[in-house]
Symmetry: C2
Subunit: 610 residues, 2 copies
C-alpha cells in the first residue's frame, strides 16, 4: 500500500456510502464537540465580566446562565424543526436560501463559516498552546477527517465522553455535597479570595455578561448542517443526537452556574499572574487536586483542542451545499477517496491555518466576531423556518411557525446585544466581512452562470468547412525528435511552416540541409514540402519571436485554425530535467495564455530513456 | 518601460557586444576586487597565528609576507603567460582541460567554483554583518552583474579606488614617519599592549602562518578566466589589468608587513572582547582616528562586502567554458538580455545564498577549503601551461615553460602546506567535495552525450506509412468546447473515441444525445461516427480511468500513434482559475510522464472572455 493509502485508508466506492453513515453515539463527538466544549469557556466568559462586582457578581451568574439556557432551549426546538423540514442537511444555509432568497442564505452561510474558521483560532486563546502545536492539531484533525466521517467519530469518542463524564460526575458530587451542607458546602481546596467590588451593578454589565455567556451556544447548528451524515432514518437520528447534545450541555451549564455560586467561586483576571480557570477552581473545590482533578483537566484540554473537529464535520458539508448552488468553487462538491468533501476539508484547514498564523496574538478579538456570526446564522435560520412553515401550512405548521418565530426573535435580540456589547472588541469586523464575502459569492455565481451560458451548446456537430489547420513547427536543428514531429505535421496538414530562430549560429547549415532532408523526399512523395522560415533574433530571445510569428499568422489567416507542434524532450527523472532548457514548456504556457481559440498546441513528446 | 527593463536596462543586441567590453580602468575593480581586498585579511590571518609568540611574532610577519609576495610574483608571471596563450579566456579550466585531460580540467574548475562560492560566504566572517545584510548585498551584486559587465565596472570603480588610495596613502605616510624616526616611529594612537609569549617558535607554526597569509593570493586567477571581457587587443589589456592588480597588491602587502613590524602591532584574538583588526590598529597608529581613519575603514568595509563581485565576473564565464564542453547544463552558455551569462549569475547567487544560509555560523571553516581549492587550481593551471609550452615549442617557449614549471612547483607545495596546515580546520572537505563534483560533472557529460546520440538523425524525412492517429477525446458533457474539439478530431483522423468517465451521473443522457448530436451528422456527412465510450468509476476518480484507457489502447495497437485531445477552459485572470477544476492540466501532465513516444497530447484551448 502506498503512502496515501497508509495515511487515508483504502478508497471507498460510492456505493459504500451507507456504511459510512453514523448514529448518535458517533454523532455526539463529531457534531457536539464544539457545543459541549463551550461549557468550559461560556460560564467563564460571563464570570470574567462580573469580576468588577466582587462577591456580588457570583450571585448574578445564576440568572445569566438561566437566560442562556432558556435561549438554548428555544434554539434547540427551532433546530429540531429544521432537521425535520430539511432531512437532506445544509441547515441554516439551506433554510435561509430557500426561503429568504439568495442574499440572506449567503448571509447565514458566511456567519457560520466565519465562525467555524474562528473557533479553530480561538483554541490557543482558551489555553496556552504554542502556534506549532496548534498547527499540528489542525493537521491531525484534517487527516482524521480525510479518513472519513465514521472513523473521525471513533477517534473523538473517548475524549468526548471522558470530558462529559468527568464534568457531570463533578457536578453530581458537588450537588450532593451542597445539598447535604444545606446550600453552603465546604470546599476541599478553597478558591482564591475574591477582591472587593470596583463597580456597581448595571443593566449594561449584566447584558455584556449574558452576551459573553452566549458563546456557550455556538456549535448548536452543526447537527442540522450535517443531517446527511446520519443513518436512515436520518432525521430521527439527527434529532436524537441534537437532543442528547443539548441535554448534556444544559446539565453542564446549569450545574456549573449553581455550584460556582454555592462554592463562592469568582473568575480570576485572565492573562494575569495567579490566573486559574473557573472549572479548575470548581473541580478542586469539589474533589481536591487528586487523580480525578488530573483526568478532568486532561479531558478538558483534549476536548478544547479537538473542538475544531465540529467545524470539519460541518464546514465541508455546508460548503458543498453552497457550491451546489454555484456560489463557491464546484470542486467543493467532489467527494474524495473516503467519500468526504475533500476540498472543503483542505479549504478549512488552509483557512484555519492562516487564521492561526496571522491572528495568533489577537485571537481574543475574533471570538466576538464568531459569536455575532453564529447568532446571525441562528436568526436567519429561524426566520427562514417561519417562512417555510407559512408556505407549508397544514396540521401543526402553525405551532411550528410560532416556535421558530420565538426563536428568531430571541436569537435576533441576542445577536443585537452581542453586536452592541462586543462592537469595539472586534464585532465590527463582521459588518465589513459579511458583505465582502457575500459579494465574492455573488461574483462566483455570476462567473459560473457566464461560463455555462458561453459554453452551452444545443446544436449537433457540424462537419461543414472542415479544413486542415496551418501547422507551425518550431525547431532547433534536424534530429529524430524534429523528424517525428514533422511526420506528425504531414499527417495533419499540407500547410507546414518549420520555424527556426537564429540567434547567431547554424541557420545556414540548416537551410542547406533542409532541401536534401525534407524538401526532396516530400516532393518525391508528391506532397507540398514544408517551408523553412528563419527568424533573426538580434537580442537572442527564442520564445518571443515564435510567439509573435504564430500570432501574426493567426491574424493574417482569419479563416484558418493554427496548430503549433511543440516537440519536447521528456526526462523521467526530475534531476536530469535540470540539464535541459524548458523553452517548450515556456512556449506552451505562453501560447495558452496569449493565444486564442483558433490556436491549438500539439505536444509531441520524445522520451529519452526508451 | 516595464519593471524588468527598469531593473536590468534595455536589451543589448548581440552585435553591441564590442561596446560592452572593458579596459583596465574598469577591469581592476571588476576582476581585482577579490585579490585587492585580501590585503585586508591576508596579513591579519598570518598575524593571528603568530599571537602565541608574543612580541617575537611581529618580527616573523616580514619573512612570511616576503614568502607570500615571492609566490605571488611567480603566480603572476605564470598567469601572464596563460593570458597570452589563451586570449579567449577560461583560464585555469581551459588550460588544464586542454592539456591535462578532462579529469584534471574538472579538478581545477571545481576548485575555483568551490572557492568562488566560499568567498561570498567568507564575507560575514570578515565583518559582523547580519545574514539579512549579506543576502541584500548578494542580491545587489547579482542585479548589478545582470546589468552587464561594463556597468558593474562603473559601479565598483569608486569604492575600489578609494580603498586602494586610502591604504596606499596610509602606507606612504607611515613609511615617511618610519624613515624620519629612524625605524622606530611613535604611533599617534598606541596599539594595544602585546601579551607575553605562550609558545616557542617552530617551523610548523611559521608554515601555518604562511598558509594563512596565502589567502591574500586568492582571486588572482580571475583575470585569466575573464579575458573575453576585455577590449581588443584583449590579451594586452588583460595582461595590463593583471599587472596593475598584482603591483598594487604587492605594494599593500609589503607596506602592511613592514609597518606592522615598525609600529609593533600584533593581532588581537578574533571573537574576543577588545578585538580590533590589524588594519584598524595600523591606520590609527599612523594617522590617529580622524576623518582619514573613518574614510579608510568605510572603504575597507565596502570593498570586503563587494569583493564577491569578482566571483560574479569570473564564475559565469568559467561555467560557460565548462558547459560548452558539456560538463555543466547547456543553459549556462546562453547570454541574457545584457549579454551576460545570466544562468551562471543566477546559479552563483543561489549557491552563495545557500552557503550564507547554511554555513552562516561556520564560514570560518570554509576559508581553508577555499584556499586549498584556489591553490589546487593554481597548480593545475601552471602544470597545464608546462605541457602547453612543451607542445608549442619554438622561440621563448622553453623559457616560458620553466616559468610555469616553477609556478606549478611553488603553488603545488603551497597547496600541500595549506592542505596539511588546515586539514582539521575544514580542508578535508575538499578531499570529499572535489571528487563528488567531478563525478557529477562526468555524469552530466555522459547524459548529454547519451541524449545527443539518441536524437542524432542523419536520414532524411520519410513519408512511408503515414497513418492518421487514433484519437481519444475525454469529455464531460456536450458543450461548445467539446464540439470544437470533436471537429478538430474529425480533421485529424476517422478513428475517434470520445471518453466519458461516469462517477455516477448524467451518462445515460449523454449516451442518448450522442446519437442525435454526433452520430447522425457524421453519418450524413459520410464519415465514420466517433464512438462514445463510458468508463465506470466506482471510486469517483476521473483522470486515472482516462489514463489507463489511453495506455491500454497504446498497448493493443502497437502500430498506431495515439493522439489525446484535451479541451481546456482558459481563464485570462488568475483568480477565476481557482473556480475551475484543473483536471485537464493534471491529465496533460500525467500523459506526458506516464505516456510514451506514440502518445501525443493535443491541447484545444477555449478562451472564456472572448
Amino acid at each position: 500500500m502506498d503512502l496515501v493509502g497508509l495515511l487515508l485508508g483504502r478508497p471507498l466506492a460510492t456505493e459504500e456510502e451507507k456504511a459510512e453513515r453514523i448514529g448518535p453515539a458517533k454523532g455526539i463527538p463529531i457534531f457536539g464537540l464544539d457545543a459541549l466544549s463551550s461549557a468550559a469557556y461560556g460560564p467563564e466568559a460571563a464570570l470574567t465580566l462580573l469580576i468588577p462586582l466582587g462577591m456580588a457578581g457570583i450571585a448574578y451568574i445564576v440568572p445569566v446562565s438561566i437566560s442562556v439556557i432558556v435561549l438554548l432551549g428555544i434554539v434547540y426546538f427551532s433546530y429540531r424543526q429544521t432537521i425535520e423540514a430539511y432531512p437532506m442537511g445544509g441547515g441554516s444555509y439551506t433554510v435561509a436560501s430557500e426561503n429568504l432568497g439568495m442574499w440572506a442564505g449567503l448571509f447565514a452561510a458566511v456567519g457560520i463559516s466565519a465562525g467555524v474558521g474562528t473557533l479553530v483560532s480561538a483554541v490557543p486563546a482558551a489555553q496556552p498552546h504554542t502556534l506549532e502545536i496548534c498547527l499540528g492539531i489542525l493537521a491531525l484533525v484534517c487527516l482524521v477527517n480525510l479518513r472519513g466521517v465514521s472513523e473521525s467519530g471513533a477517534v473523538f469518542l473517548v475524549p468526548a465522553y471522558l470530558f462529559v463524564g468527568c464534568i457531570l460526575a463533578a457536578i453530581l458530587i458537588g450537588a450532593v455535597n451542597t445539598m447535604v451542607a444545606g446550600g453552603h458546602p465546604v470546599p476541599v481546596i478553597a478558591p482564591p479570595r475574591i477582591p472587593p467590588a470596583t463597580e456597581a451593578v448595571s443593566l449594561w454589565l449584566i447584558l455584556r455578561a449574558f452576551a459573553s455567556g452566549c458563546t456557550a451556544m455556538t456549535g448548536v447548528e452543526a447537527v442540522s448542517n450535517g443531517v446527511g451524515a446520519f443513518r436512515e432514518p436520518t432525521a430521527k437520528y439527527a434529532r436524537l443526537t441534537l437532543t442528547c447534545i443539548i441535554a448534556i450541555l444544559v446539565a453542564m451549564l446549569a450545574g456549573i452556574a449553581w455550584l460556582t455560586n454555592a462554592y463562592g467561586i469568582a473568575a480570576t483576571p485572565p492573562g494575569e499572574p495567579g490566573y486559574q480557570s473557573v472549572l479548575s477552581m470548581l473541580i478542586a473545590a469539589i474533589g481536591g487536586k487528586g487523580w480525578f482533578y488530573g483526568v478532568s483537566m486532561g479531558a478538558i484540554v483534549v476536548v478544547l483542542s479537538l473542538s475544531a473537529n465540529t467545524a470539519f464535520a460541518d464546514f465541508p458539508r455546508l460548503a458543498r451545499a453552497i457550491a451546489q448552488n454555484g456560489f463557491l468553487p464546484h470542486s467543493l462538491t467532489t467527494r474524495g477517496r473516503r467519500l468526504v468533501y475533500t476540498q472543503g476539508v483542505y479549504m478549512l484547514t488552509i483557512l484555519a491555518g492562516a487564521l492561526l498564523l496571522f491572528f495568533d496574538g489577537i485571537t481574543d478579538r475574533l471570538i466576538p466576531l464568531y459569536a455575532v456570526g453564529a447568532f446571525l446564522a441562528f436568526t436567519l435560520s429561524q426566520a427562514g423556518m417561519v417562512l417555510h412553515w407559512k408556505r407549508v401550512r397544514g396540521r401543526g405548521a402553525r405551532r411550528s411557525m410560532w416556535i421558530n418565530a420565538l426563536g428568531a426573535l430571541a436569537t435576533g435580540l441576542t445577536a443585537a446585544v452581542v453586536l452592541l456589547a462586543k462592537f469595539t472588541e472586534g464585532a465590527w469586523i463582521t459588518v465589513l466581512l459579511i458583505p465582502g464575502l457575500m459579494l465574492m459569492m455573488r461574483m462566483v455565481k455570476r462567473h459560473y452562470v457566464g461560463v455555462a451560458r458561453e459554453i452551452a451548446c444545443h446544436t449537433p456537430l457540424s462537419l461543414a468547412n472542415l479544413q486542415p489547420p496551418l501547422v507551425v513547427l518550431p525547431l532547433d536543428s534536424w534530429s529524430r525528435v524534429t523528424r517525428k514531429a514533422l511526420r506528425f505535421a504531414m499527417v495533419l496538414s499540407s500547410d507546414i511552416v518549420a520555424l527556426h530562430v537564429d540567434a547567431g549560429e547554424q541557420s545556414d547549415a540548416l537551410r542547406q540541409r533542409w532541401h536534401e532532408l525534407v524538401e526532396t523526399p516530400a516532393l518525391q512523395a508528391g506532397r507540398k514540402p514544408p517551408e523553412l522560415v528563419v527568424l533573426p533574433s538580434p537580442y537572442r530571445f527564442v520564445v518571443q519571436p515564435i510567439l509573435a510569428y504564430v500570432l501574426e499568422m493567426e491574424r493574417s489567416h482569419p479563416d484558418r485554425q493554427i496548430s503549433v507542434l511543440v516537440p519536447e524532450l521528456v526526462e523521467r527523472r526530475w534531476y536530469t530535467n535540470l540539464l535541459h532548457n524548458h523553452r517548450s514548456a515556456v512556449l506552451k504556457t505562453l501560447l495558452l495564455f496569449k493565444g486564442n481559440r483558433r490556436i491549438a498546441v500539439i505536444n509531441i513528446p520524445w522520451y529519452l530513456d526508451e
